[in-house]
């Protein structure tokens, strides 16, 4: 009959053991939970909470997730200046392109245009000269004479030569004019190009300068970063302290729980032994169980 009591004692051991185990587990679970809670708490305490910098330019915030809201954009004036400069640069660039295009054009049409204009200015004078020459010719009695050598008279030929010379001069002048204009256009293209580049440069400069507030704010942020670091250091230190203390407390709790459980187990075990003289082996019932289960070693 040892067995029944063994069994009862075993059952009771089991039950007690179960309870103790359960308590231990619960203690552990609780401890875990507490740890977890502590951890979470500490995580919360140690979590980066972000920081902000406020300047005359704006308010920059660094979020807990690290995202940064600079709060300051590019300088609107500079952006506007950039827009203007770039616009003018573009315009001058267009001018330069146009001038370059003009400089690259065939001068023939321009020569013709200049020539025609020059001849249009000269034509009344030439017509007057021709009329005078014809009148003179008729007054001399040479009117109406046309020779193969001259087309008309020698005087007509001389007049024609003079007018042809004038036309040639106008033509050469037109060619020179057209070439000068071409060169001027090239120079203008260069100047416009340079102006355009200048304006573009200014625009780019303005664009660059438009970032000055941002830069300044970033500088301020950097300064704030230090301050925020210090704050975080304090925060983290406090959390550390809290963690330590928490862990200590938790440990104490667990130890207490363990001690209690152990005590209970000891007490229970004693009790059981009392029941049947069941010796509790290391496991007693537990040892039979272990043997039954083949768990003992």
């Amino acid at each position: 009959m040892a067995g029944l009591f063994d069994l009862i004692g075993g059952a009771g051991s089991i039950a007690a053991g179960y309870d103790i185990a359960k308590d231990i587990r619960e203690t552990g679970a609780q401890g875990a939970a507490d740890m977890s809670a502590l951890g979470q708490q500490l995580a919360g305490d140690a979590a980066f909470k972000g920081y902000g910098v406020q300047t005359g330019l704006g308010n920059t915030t660094v979020g807990a997730d690290g995202s940064t809201n600079l709060g300051v954009g590019q300088d609107a004036g500079m952006l506007a200046l950039q827009e203007q400069m770039l616009g003018q640069g573009q315009q001058f660039g267009d001018y330069a392109g146009q001038a370059a295009g003009n400089a690259m054009m065939d001068t023939g049409a321009r020569e013709q245009s200049v020539y025609e204009r020059a001849m249009a200015m000269q034509q009344p004078g030439l017509d007057a000269q021709r009329a005078q020459q014809q009148a003179r010719e008729y007054a001399m009695g040479r009117g109406g004479v046309r020779g193969s050598q001259f087309g008309g008279t020698a005087e007509d030929a001389a007049m024609a030569r003079a007018q042809a010379q004038a036309q040639n001069q106008a033509a050469f002048g037109a060619m020179g004019q057209a070439q000068n204009e071409m060169m001027n256009q090239g120079a203008l293209a260069s100047q416009f190009g340079q102006l355009g580049q200048g304006y573009a440069g200014q625009g780019m400069g303005a664009f660059g300068q438009s970032f000055t507030p941002i830069q300044q704010q970033l500088n301020a942020l950097q300064v704030g970063q230090g301050n925020a670091g210090m704050a975080q250091t304090g925060q983290l230190t406090g959390a550390g302290y809290n963690a330590q203390l928490g862990l200590g407390g938790l440990q104490s709790q667990i130890n207490a729980d363990m001690a209690g459980s152990q005590l209970y187990a000891d007490l229970f075990g004693a009790g059981m032994k009392s029941l049947g003289g069941i010796e509790a082996k290391t496991g007693g019932l537990f040892g039979d169980i272990e043997d039954f289960l083949g768990l003992g070693g």
Binding site: G141, G143, G144, V145, R146, S148, T153
Partner: protein, 566 residues
């Protein structure tokens, strides 16, 4: 008491020619009212002209006989002469008219002929073979024939220029290197189809091209095939041909070119009513700076027709509506009366000109071998001769008149040391020659002389004419003559007399002391004519028939009795 018979001598009667302008009552008896078929011979006597004798014996032309043609008549129209190489050629344009039995004209043909010398010598007008085809053959009737640069050029209105090189006729436009007037707009005239032309100063000058009688085209220097080239790049860069537009220089506003004459380095452009004178026409290039230039314009004097102008070497004579004018004196003095060669018969001439329907029938020809210029009105078969040796006392030249002028034109030319004047017969006789005393027709022509009205210084006294003695110089055959006299301004009375010609002194025939010896060619004889009648003024004349003889009036003696004052 009976008045003494007076002898009044008229020496060299009429030697100053006809004068119908001054009052006959006050006139110098050296002038006359009529000098018909007369000339002023070398001795200054008024005498009979030479005959229009036969020269060519035949006109050899080929033509298609028209159906129904019964008769054919050849009319010689225009003459021209030129030297090609060393041979002198005379060319003529002829028409062949074919008529039916009713004398209706069936067909006209036109040919260019040349004078051919045959054995004898005999002369014929022979058609030049292979005549070129012309656009308007009828225009040959008024062709202008010129000699230039070893060729003879025939200009006719509306036709290409025909060129004779001594052998054949060709068209100028077919010649190698022919360059018609042109410029960059194109050809101005494909053919030089005008008939107002002259050859002078190394060029041909033509007007009437394309019926434009205000423009003169002149050829290149010594190159008749090359004309004005006004292209910017001429075919021949050395071409100096050209054009002269005279339309803006007519002093009367407008006119048309009728004649072109070169004289004294000038070019005379005759319009119908005005004259333009260009100097320096003989310059290398008329269009050059020292080239042709207008020298003068003369208004209200012009040329009646193209051939009514002649160059006598020292001057240019032309026929204006007012008569025969002298260009030199006209320009020098710039006045109408002076420089008027036909001043003595001015109204007669102007009337004759005005009455001539076809002005082309008026021509003026200088005969240097005869010292005369003939103003011919072939429409009336009538002409005036203008003595060229010296003017009359009035300033006008000495004038006689000719009738029976059945020819269109006259031409003086020299050949083989001989000089002659030939005439283009319009009576189917080819060419006539001014020579001898027998007309080609074989008919006699009359020499006529009528004095001016003679009053012998006493116009109020009656004159009883008793006798007229004619001292006549005659040659050749005996001929009949009619002495005439009158008291009413006409020859109311006539008397026949026989004018003796040459009287040969033959050995054994002529009788010593009886036969009248002479030089054997010319007889000078006084013929006495008893007269009757009376009057205050007397007109004396004589009419002699000329056929194989000549007649000159040396002197007239008038025996008259002066009566009471009437």
């Amino acid at each position: 008491m009976a008045q003494q018979q007076q002898n009044i001598t008229i020496a060299a009667p009429g030697f100053q020619g006809i004068n119908t302008e001054e009052s006959p009552l006050q006139q110098d008896p050296s002038f006359c009212l009529v000098a018909e078929n007369a000339v002023l011979d070398r001795y200054g006597r008024v005498g009979s002209r030479k005959a229009f004798a036969e020269f060519t014996t035949a006109v050899n032309v080929t033509y298609a006989v028209a159906p129904g043609a019964v008769t054919a008549e050849v009319v010689t129209h225009r003459l021209g002469q030129g030297v090609i190489g060393t041979i002198s050629y005379v060319l003529a344009t002829v028409s062949i008219f074919q008529f039916d039995a009713a004398n209706a004209l069936l067909q006209e043909d036109y040919r260019i002929c040349r004078l051919v010398t045959g054995a004898g010598p005999t002369y014929t007008l022979d058609e030049i073979p292979s005549q070129p085809t012309l656009t308007t053959p009828a225009a040959l009737k008024d062709a202008k024939i010129l000699s230039f640069k070893d060729e003879i050029f025939i200009f006719s209105q509306g036709n290409d220029v025909v060129v004779f090189d001594g052998t054949v006729l060709t068209l100028l436009s077919a010649a190698a290197g022919y360059l018609p007037p042109q410029d960059d707009t194109g050809t101005l005239a494909a053919l030089l189809d005008g008939n107002v032309a002259t050859a002078a100063y190394g060029r041909l000058w033509v007007s009437g091209v394309n019926s434009d009688f205000n423009t003169i085209y002149y050829s290149d220097l010594l190159i008749p095939t090359q004309w004005y080239d006004g292209k910017a790049a001429p075919t021949d860069p050395a071409n100096t041909g050209g054009i002269i537009d005279v339309s803006e220089y007519w002093p009367n506003g407008s006119d048309r070119i009728v004649g072109l004459v070169a004289h004294n380095s000038a070019l005379y452009v005759f319009g119908r009513n005005s004259i333009i004178v260009y100097n320096n026409a003989a310059s290398g290039d008329p269009a050059s700076a020292d080239g042709i230039v207008l020298a003068d314009t003369i208004s209200n004097l012009g040329l009646v027709s193209r051939d009514a102008v002649t160059n006598i070497g020292s001057d240019v004579l032309f026929v204006d509506d007012s008569g025969v004018r002298s260009l030199g004196r006209t320009i020098q003095e710039k006045s109408v009366p002076i420089g008027d060669l036909t001043y003595n018969v001015r109204r007669d001439v102007t009337e004759q000109i005005a009455n001539t329907n076809d002005k082309k029938k008026i021509s003026l020809t200088y005969w240097p071998n005869e010292d005369l210029t003939l103003l011919l009105f072939s429409e009336a078969n009538y002409g005036y001769t203008i003595e060229m040796r010296s003017p009359s006392s009035t300033g006008g030249n000495k004038i006689t008149e000719w009738t029976g002028c059945f020819f269109e034109r006259a031409l003086y030319y020299e050949q083989a040391g001989l000089s002659r004047v030939v005439m283009a017969s319009n009576k189917d006789a080819g060419l006539l020659e001014y020579d001898g005393s027998t007309d080609q027709s074989g008919e006699a022509y009359d020499f006529k002389y009528e004095s001016s009205v003679l009053t012998f210084g006493q116009p109020a006294n009656l004159k009883f004419l008793k006798q007229i003695d004619y001292t006549v110089v005659s040659t050749g055959n005996d001929s009949l003559a009619y002495s005439g006299w009158g008291f009413t301004g006409r020859l109311d009375y006539t008397k026949l007399l026989t004018v003796n010609g040459q009287s040969a002194g033959l050995f054994g025939i002529s009788l010593f002391g009886i036969a009248q010896y002479n030089s054997g060619l010319t007889r000078i004889k006084r013929y006495r004519v008893n007269t009757k009648g009376s009057g205050e003024s007397i007109v004396i004349g004589i009419r002699a028939s000329i056929l194989g003889n000549s007649f000159s009036l040396q002197e007239i003696n008038v025996q008259t009795l002066l009566g009471r004052l009437n």
